[in-house]
């Protein structure tokens, strides 16, 4: 078979997997296309299985049948790009926010975002943890020159409503009880401690502090951001809690972007 016919086979097989088997007929030795259905099923269920594992809380809230049906539709529009299915499905949150059957549960997309962040935290690189004693040596003058390295598994998220508490309530369903979506803004931090991902609600101050550090701010700037967001917050408490949770990896000079004027 010449090379152009080789390409034609792959084009035809691709089309057949998407439902149009007409072009594949020169290569089919008999009328039965039952084998094609085996391939189609395996492909669809492989991607759906991966989403089911990643979006465990969404599955819990919608039921597995609803989720798998929705996920099948997502897979048609956003098929996997690479064989490492651990990193598949990042756009599911956005897709879910526009999926008409989910219109009466608008918090589901936010739940999906938290599932995704949990999963990213779980898969992230390992790193050393900062020894709190290193912080005792800092003089006030150094606060604008130093910053804290954040653990690779740290993820933060802010919501205009109570999606994080709703998500948390589903992580320990044994406790039972109805949980309703709160109206006040909530924020969440994820970090991996040992083999477990720790998920905690945090207030506006610590959130602003971590958000600033993640953007490369100095300790001084991060502290100012925390106080601006939550004037009553205690900065030393943010540091102490962060050390205990393993949020920080090192104390390091701030990297300043060098401006290139042309």
């Amino acid at each position: 078979m010449p090379p152009h016919e080789e390409r034609a086979f792959f084009d035809a097989f691709d089309a057949a997997l998407s439902g149009d088997a007409a072009g594949l007929s020169p290569w089919l030795a008999d009328d039965s296309t039952a084998g094609l259905a085996v391939y189609r099923n395996t492909i669809a269920s492989g991607a759906v299985d991966a989403l089911t594992a990643t979006y465990a809380t969404v599955v819990m809230m919608t039921g597995e049948d609803w989720f798998r049906a929705a996920a099948r539709e997502y897979v048609l529009v956003h098929p996997p790009r690479e064989p490492a299915l651990l990193s598949y499905g990042e756009s599911f949150e956005h897709w879910l926010s526009q999926f008409p059957p989910a219109a009466d549960t608008p918090y589901l997309a936010g739940i999906a975002r938290l599932d995704w962040l949990w999963w990213q935290s779980w898969c992230a690189a390992d790193d050393q943890l900062l020894d709190g004693a290193d912080l005792a040596e800092i003089s006030p003058a150094q606060l604008s020159e130093l910053t804290l390295g954040l653990h690779p598994s740290l993820r933060i998220a802010a919501f205009a409503n109570g999606t994080p508490a709703l998500w948390l309530a589903h992580q320990a369903p044994a406790r039972g009880g109805e949980h309703v979506l709160g109206r006040d803004p909530e924020r969440m931090v994820f970090v991996r401690l040992g083999a477990q991902v720790e998920a905690r609600l945090i207030t506006a101050g610590p959130y602003a502090f971590l958000d600033a550090l993640s953007r490369g701010a100095s300790l001084l700037e991060a502290g100012q951001a925390a106080l601006a967001a939550e004037p009553a917050c205690a900065l030393h408490q943010i540091i102490v809690t962060g050390l205990a949770l393993g949020l920080f990896t090192c104390l390091t000079p701030v990297k300043r972007n060098t401006r290139h004027d042309n």
Partner: protein, 285 residues
């Protein structure tokens, strides 16, 4: 690692603790490397602990060696990193394709075994072995669709790939049984004609009849115990070629670890018997 790999098991996250404490002689584990393409976390912690005690095999599902695109460089790099980290005793992939034009299909797809395909796939295997710095084994796929346009029977195609690239074969006995049933060839004839020196590993798994068509179409589900037919063919194969590292594969409907241990023990006893039979001949030689 001084353990000589005999019969092994596919490693499943729900079995990490059981796997770590299993004292069986010759036990080894196999993983799909794509499931460990993450930077860190519990999966690597567990795998590191397993590797400290047991030989490990990397069995890839995503290189798409039979495709019409070259092997993906980032994928090869990620695989190389895992190889450097875990030092597997064997690395394998499939005679199938799955990636095309930026989309990856989680399956092992068929193709016409043409002369052009042979040249193309041999070059993909060459490129892979060069990038990994290791010889790889190629697995025969399970087949569901009778295609026109083959220039070679599958076994001849595989043997020719070995000759051209120096790769070896991972012979999946269940895939041969599934393909023989679905496409109408002789499983015995297929297995009897693969040269012994090319076979570096054997897979045993379960299959299921298609839910609509029944036993005329068998599906390689990896979701059931190894069938009697596969055991019989395996015993015949080992009697011919001698012992080879053999894996019990189970990826779906995963039972308690103890159930897999029993299947593994059955393979191990077949391997031990073959070694005992060969020993007197060695002593006389």
């Amino acid at each position: 690692m001084s353990i000589q790999p005999a019969a092994g098991l596919g490693l499943k996250p729900q079995h990490y603790a059981d796997a770590l404490s299993d004292p069986a002689a010759g036990l080894w584990f196999e993983i799909h490397p794509e499931n460990y393409f993450c930077a860190g976390g519990p999966r690597h912690t567990h795998l590191t602990a397993i590797r400290e005690r047991r030989p490990l095999s990397l069995h890839g599902v995503g290189l798409s060696l039979a495709g019409d695109e070259r092997p993906d460089r980032p994928h090869l790099l990620a695989l190389r990193n895992l190889i450097d980290r875990y030092q597997p005793f064997v690395i394998s992939e499939h005679l199938a394709w799955s990636r095309r034009a930026g989309t990856w299909r989680p399956d092992l797809l068929p193709f016409p075994r043409t002369k052009a395909a042979l040249v193309r796939i041999a070059s993909h295997i060459d490129e892979t072995q060069a990038a990994l710095g290791r010889r790889i084994l190629i697995e025969n796929p399970s087949l569901y669709l009778a295609l026109n346009g083959h220039d070679y029977p599958e076994k001849d195609f595989l043997i020719e790939l070995c000759a051209r690239t120096g790769c070896g074969l991972l012979l999946d006995v269940n895939n041969v049984v599934v393909g023989a049933n679905n496409l109408g060839f002789s499983a015995e004839d297929y297995l009897d004609n693969i040269p012994s020196n090319l076979i570096g590993e054997i897979h045993l798994a379960g299959h299921a009849p298609d839910p609509h068509l029944g036993a005329t179409l068998l599906v390689d589900t990896h979701g059931a115990p190894v069938s009697d037919e596969v055991w019989t063919l395996y015993q015949r194969l080992i009697a011919r070629i001698g012992a080879r590292p053999t894996l019990i594969e189970r990826d779906d409907n995963i039972p308690a670890y103890g159930e897999l241990q029993q299947e593994r023990a059955r393979a191990a006893s077949i391997l031990s018997a073959s070694i005992r039979q060969q020993e007197p001949a060695h002593a006389a030689a």
